[in-house]
């Protein structure tokens, strides 16, 4: 795949071949006509881009860490414009798209040569693509971090409400939580383990963690995954847990559940 800069340069070169705006429109119409068909059932209200006079639908999916866009419009020149955007940005990482300034649009003079309503539509298309990229990007801005920090606190509090059925210490302090990620959509992803692979209450504990976290205000979804890699050992206990258990008496082989 060619780089983002190369893709932009290719569009600028294509556009500079035409002197007349009518010819540039012909080129956009051609792009629009050749855009990959968009499924009718995905022409839904939530995929409609606001601010366009013609209707524009945009759908995205993330695959292998890259964003892929599909789109359609009932107006062919608009469809050409969105095809051009997709051609440049589809298949790139969210970070790459979110970090781009989209200024090549100004370089080809597209915005100035559209009617104000359509120029607004173009701005809305770009804003939507940027928003999708930002949402899927793992890079956090200072605002993102500030927004997520209290959520992390509250989620940890929620996890601490769940106890191992056989040990009087919560699963967090036991060191059973290997990973906790809250993304910008406020979905929580948890990777956890048990003290031994044979825990008979495993399903119940997993469900309890899931529910406890999902119930935290602001959390939109919670996904809990079980792993035994690496296997748990008592060095993973928190200081509080060690005190609670009186570590000198603690023997992991006895307590394995």
């Amino acid at each position: 795949m060619i780089s983002l800069e190369e893709a932009k340069k290719a569009v600028i070169d294509d556009f500079s071949m035409y002197d007349e705006w009518l010819d540039k429109y012909e080129y956009l119409i051609d792009l629009g006509k050749n855009l990959e068909p968009y499924p009718e059932e995905e022409k839904t209200e939530d995929r409609l881009i606001k601010g366009c006079q013609s209707r524009v639908w945009l759908n995205s999916r993330i695959e292998g860490g890259r964003l892929f866009f599909r789109a359609d419009s009932d107006a062919i020149i608009t469809k050409g414009i969105i095809s051009l955007l997709i051609g440049v940005y589809s298949g790139r990482t969210p970070e790459e798209i979110a970090g781009d300034d989209f200024s090549f649009i100004n370089e080809i003079g597209l915005k100035e040569n559209l009617s104000p309503t359509r120029a607004n539509g173009l701005v809305s298309m770009i804003e939507t693509i940027k928003a999708i990229a930002k949402e899927n990007s793992t890079i956090l801005t200072a605002e993102d971090a500030a927004e997520l920090a209290p959520l992390y606190d509250n989620v940890i509090m929620a996890i601490k409400q769940v106890y191992d059925p056989e040990i009087p210490v919560n699963v967090y302090d036991l060191g059973l939580i290997y990973e906790l990620v809250i993304n910008k959509k406020h979905e929580a992803f948890i990777k956890m383990t048990f003290t031994a692979p044979t825990c008979p209450m495993a399903d119940e504990v997993l469900a309890e963690v899931q529910k406890s976290v999902a119930d935290v205000p602001g959390i939109t979804a919670c996904n809990v995954e079980l792993t035994f890699e690496p296997p748990w050992d008592q060095s993973m206990l928190s200081e509080e847990a060690k005190i609670e258990l009186g570590m000198e008496d603690f023997d992991s082989s006895d307590q394995a559940s």
Partner: protein
């Protein structure tokens, strides 16, 4: 005579076919405005100095000119506003406050501009009144036969356009007024398009309110008129409070100025309102029989050219030779209205695309928008021919 028309856009001579949105201003209007700004710029009605006296004279003599032009019974019945929208909002508020209560009904038609729908919706919301809608048929004519059944003793007002800005069909407003008056219900006529195409004699029409804008009638923007029968205007509460609209102001209570000042609070559009005078003169000039005949030829040519194209679906189909103005809203099968307008623009042709501030009507015909060519008497047959050729070229590019 019309400076804006002699320019080129995108290297092509301008063909301006968006007159229903706003017309171009003749030199006489531009000059009147400039002379007021440069020479007689002073606030009206107050000071005794020369400039103020001149400005007041310009403003008030315009009221007489408008009164003559629409044949109102008295000058007190002419209220200056910022446009049709402001005129309708004034009635929706002041008439509504005075005469509409919970459970009352207001009737509008399906073919109205948003300006003649939303103020009434707002009134109904405020008062708990009901908004009822008179439909249009497939050809874009009002279903006038439904009106008597829609009208009840709770109907407090019927608001209808003289000519729809989308369909260009002359509505039977006189008949509507007669039907409504037979049960004592007043009628507001939105004359935004009608004042330009044929004008109005408000006494003959006998409507209770008539609203129109200056800028579609070749006058400066930000000007408009509300005509209201004195008997109604006298009984209505003021719309806005402020300077000019008062008789005496005390903290114990304020009394209002008599008509028309009662409805003209604050400093009016003193530099622009007087442009109505040269604008009316220009409009009267265009009433010339030869000009009218020529305009009809241009209009007939466009009608024939558009309707003979099997891809074109015209909205607002005339039934006689006199009931449609030179305004054509249409869709082209397989080509989006916005694409067409964009390409036409690059060919120098200014037309309108989209919903044209009439979303309910777009829904009625099941379309997301239309393309509209609206002409003024200064448009020529050559321009019409060039438009048709350009349209064909645009369609060819898109299909």
């Amino acid at each position: 005579m019309l400076p804006a028309l002699s320019q080129s856009v995108h290297g092509k001579p301008l063909v301006y076919f968006d007159n229903a949105a706003t017309s171009q201003r003749p030199e006489s209007v531009v000059e009147k405005w400039l002379s007021l700004v440069r020479g007689s710029n002073a606030n009206i009605h107050r000071a005794v100095h020369k400039l103020a006296v001149d400005a007041t004279e310009e403003y008030e003599s315009t009221r007489d000119a408008v009164k003559e032009y629409i044949n109102a019974a008295s000058r007190e019945e002419i209220i200056f506003t910022s446009g049709t929208t402001a005129s309708i909002n004034l009635v929706a508020f002041s008439y509504g406050e005075s005469f509409v209560s919970e459970g009352d009904e207001i009737i509008v038609t399906e073919a109205e501009h948003h300006s003649n729908i939303v103020p009434w919706q707002m009134l109904c919301q405020r008062k708990g009144a009901v908004l009822k809608v008179l439909g249009v048929d497939d050809e874009g004519h009002l279903k006038i036969e439904d009106l008597p059944t829609l009208l009840t003793d709770r109907t407090k007002l019927v608001a209808v356009s003289q000519i729809s800005n989308v369909l260009g069909i002359k509505n039977p407003v006189k008949e509507i007024v007669k039907t409504c008056h037979s049960i004592g219900c007043p009628v507001l006529v939105d004359g935004a398009q009608g004042i330009v195409h044929g004008g109005v004699d408000v006494q003959d029409l006998d409507c209770d309110f008539y609203a129109f804008s200056g800028h579609k009638l070749y006058a400066a923007t930000g000007t408009g008129v509300l005509y209201g029968k004195k008997e109604w205007l006298d009984k209505m509460v003021p719309y806005q409070g402020g300077g000019e609209m008062i008789a005496t102001v005390r903290f114990s209570g304020t009394t209002y100025a008599p008509l028309p000042e009662k409805f003209e609070a604050g400093t009016q559009n003193i530099n622009s309102v007087p442009t109505f005078k040269p604008a009316i003169e220009f409009a009267e000039l265009l009433q010339d029989k030869d000009i009218q005949e020529y305009s009809k030829q241009v209009s007939d040519y466009l009608y024939t050219a558009l309707t003979s194209n099997p891809r074109v679906r015209l909205f607002g189909v005339p039934r006689g030779t006199e009931d449609k103005i030179a305004l054509f809203s249409f869709c082209v099968d397989g080509a989006h209205h916005e694409d067409l307008a964009l390409i036409l623009d690059k060919l120098g042709v200014a037309v309108r695309s989209g919903q044209m501030c009439a979303e309910p009507l777009m829904d009625r015909f099941g379309v997301t928008g239309m393309l509209r060519a609206s002409l003024a008497p200064y448009n020529t047959i050559e321009e019409a021919e060039y438009f048709i050729k350009s349209l064909e070229r645009a369609v060819g590019m898109l299909i």
